[in-house]
């Protein structure tokens, strides 16, 4: 059964790339939004407008186009703050989630983590929310601990209080990029705070797909990337509670983050500027503002519902292949996951599966999804991953299933 309501159809029409056939003349069936999302026309146009109409360096220019660039850039910050329920001065522009986590690991981490402290992660962290803490632990002598997951990637919170004992920091993905699992932050954050830990939430897979309110969550830091939520590559956000940001030493230093500089010493600006050294990614920040406006117009509740419906449909359709050896990893309940499904077809390696799907215009990711330790723990060498976003439809799932059918045929399954 294929249903595309009018709203989804209108959304699809906003994404130019989706109207472009592949080199084999196939319709592009883009099921890799967890890696990066496609961009609507309005976001692309925001870049063009910036460069054709008012490109100028910001903050220090008195002339007209510099004033407009500064206004639009700072206004984008307001939009991002609004999008996650933060204050404007709690939004630090960064390149991506990875930079945001590293910034906290270096600036907050070096100032606050000491030998013997513990840092609590989960077993399904993306490398970007794992390796920076490994390096911090190495620098400081802190200990890394992990919230375990069961064989379907569901969190085991039974020992949470013991794990939190002596913890300075909890750093965890809001949504797993490999399995889609949603971490119950409403349980983890209050208990982490009760244990005296600061909580960084890696929202790279959540901010694009779920309504997020950082104040309601009471997250101390929240990190996410524009490119996964309709915005250009090269721009992301570190949210931090203002009091935390204010107490943090600067990290990058240079132009635009200073108050007064002498040859011998320097006074730094207040957050968020303190953490934004050098010429910002002005155009992409402005376009990011347009992207979240687009998401807000569609409605994040609608996005979540749309993806939940689609994930449910996909789980049902994929299950038809189970008798032929298709394995679905991760929780089977669409309410417990975001729109991400990892799977493998019998003895077909995920890369071979993805290559065959590619011949049908289907884009899925194959590999370790930057979660090597999880893969090793689970004993999977690679998985294929389909991930959905607001422009995907049940028709896309049907094409995916036809592609899997083809792979099964090629491999004689």
């Amino acid at each position: 059964m294929i249903t595309v309501d009018g709203k989804t159809e209108r959304i699809i029409a906003d994404f130019p790339i989706l109207a472009r056939p592949t080199s084999r003349g196939k319709r592009l069936v883009y099921l890799d939004s967890a890696a990066t999302s496609q961009k609507p026309r309005s976001v692309i146009q925001a870049l063009v407008d910036y460069y054709e109409q008012y490109n100028a360096n910001i903050h220090r220019g008195v002339y007209e186009i510099a004033a407009r660039a500064t206004d639009e850039y700072e206004h984008a910050r307001v939009k991002l703050a609004h999008f996650i329920g933060a204050e404007t001065n709690e939004i630090v522009w960064v390149r991506n989630t990875t930079e945001a986590v590293n910034l906290v690991a270096y600036s907050w981490g070096s100032a606050n983590v000491r030998a013997g402290d513990a840092i609590l992660l989960t077993e399904l962290e993306h490398h970007s929310d794992l390796v920076p803490w490994q390096l911090l632990a190495e620098r400081t002598g802190a200990e890394l601990r992990f919230i375990p997951v069961d064989d379907r990637g569901r969190f085991i919170l039974d020992d949470l209080d013991a794990l939190l004992d002596g913890c300075k920091l909890v750093a965890c993905a809001h949504v797993s990029n490999t399995l889609g699992t949603i971490l119950p932050l409403d349980i983890v954050i209050p208990r982490a705070h009760a244990a005296g830990a600061v909580v960084l939430v890696d929202g790279a897979q959540a901010a694009p797909h779920l309504p997020v309110d950082v104040k309601a969550l009471d997250a101390d830091f929240y990190t996410f990337s524009g490119h996964k939520m309709l915005a250009p590559t090269g721009i992301g956000v570190l949210y931090g509670k203002h009091a935390l940001l204010e107490a943090m030493p600067p990290f990058f230093s240079g132009g635009d983050m200073i108050r007064k500089v002498g040859y011998a010493s320097t006074t730094f600006a207040q957050p968020p500027r303190r953490f934004e050294a050098g010429t910002s990614n002005i155009a992409d920040a402005i376009a990011y503002g347009v992207a979240v406006e687009y998401l807000q117009e569609v409605g994040m509740d609608w996005v979540r519902e749309h993806e939940r419906g689609l994930t449910g449909y996909a789980l049902r359709r994929l299950a038809e292949f189970e008798p032929r050896g298709l394995a679905i990893y991760g929780p089977r309940d669409p309410a417990a996951i975001s729109g991400v499904i990892s799977f493998n077809l019998a003895d077909v390696h995920a890369h071979d599966l993805a290559s065959i799907l590619d011949t049908e215009g289907i884009c899925v990711r194959a590999g370790h999804h930057c979660t090597m330790p999880l893969m090793e723990k689970m004993g999977w060498s690679a998985t294929a991953r389909a991930s959905f976003y607001l422009y995907n439809t049940e028709a896309d799932v049907d094409v995916l299933c036809a592609g899997i059918e083809k792979a099964a045929r090629v491999f004689g399954i």
């Binding site: 890369h351 290559s355 590999g367 090597m372 893969m375 060498s381 090629v410």
Partner: protein, 129 residues
């Protein structure tokens, strides 16, 4: 790409030749394709500069495993000096047409590992393990 997965490729994938480990290892190397996680280890038994026996182990996609498997068949009995000089073409000849450029690294993983084992042995590199 779909026309790449011919019967003999799938056969080498599912029934790799010379798969496993050797008793006596005179040269070896191991590498991982960081893009996809494919791993290959090559072990060689030498006799007077000639590949007397060879085994590969590892895991990965049909392309990397089948091309490694075919490569082991090709080099058994070859002079180590010639193994060190093997070119991409040897692999392409073995596996046939149809590999997309993105997957070329998979096809060449076995060759890269084998050549570094050979070159390392010839140059007397310090053993890395």
């Amino acid at each position: 790409m779909d026309d790449f997965y011919r019967d003999y490729i799938l056969d080498h994938y599912r029934h790799p030749r010379n798969f496993g480990r050797l008793e006596r290892v005179d040269a070896h190397a191991e590498d991982i394709n960081p893009l996809c996680g494919d791993q290959i280890r090559m072990e060689l038994e030498l006799d007077d500069g000639v590949v007397k026996d060879i085994r590969f182990s590892g895991k990965g996609c049909a392309i990397s495993q089948a091309s490694a498997s075919m490569l082991t068949e090709r080099v058994k009995g070859m002079k180590l000096a010639d193994v060190a000089k093997l070119s991409k073409d040897a692999v392409l000849e073995d596996v046939g047409i149809g590999i997309s450029p993105t997957r070329m690294k998979c096809a060449m993983l076995g060759l890269r590992v084998l050549k570094s084992a050979a070159i390392g042995e010839l140059a007397g590199w310090p053993d890395e393990e």
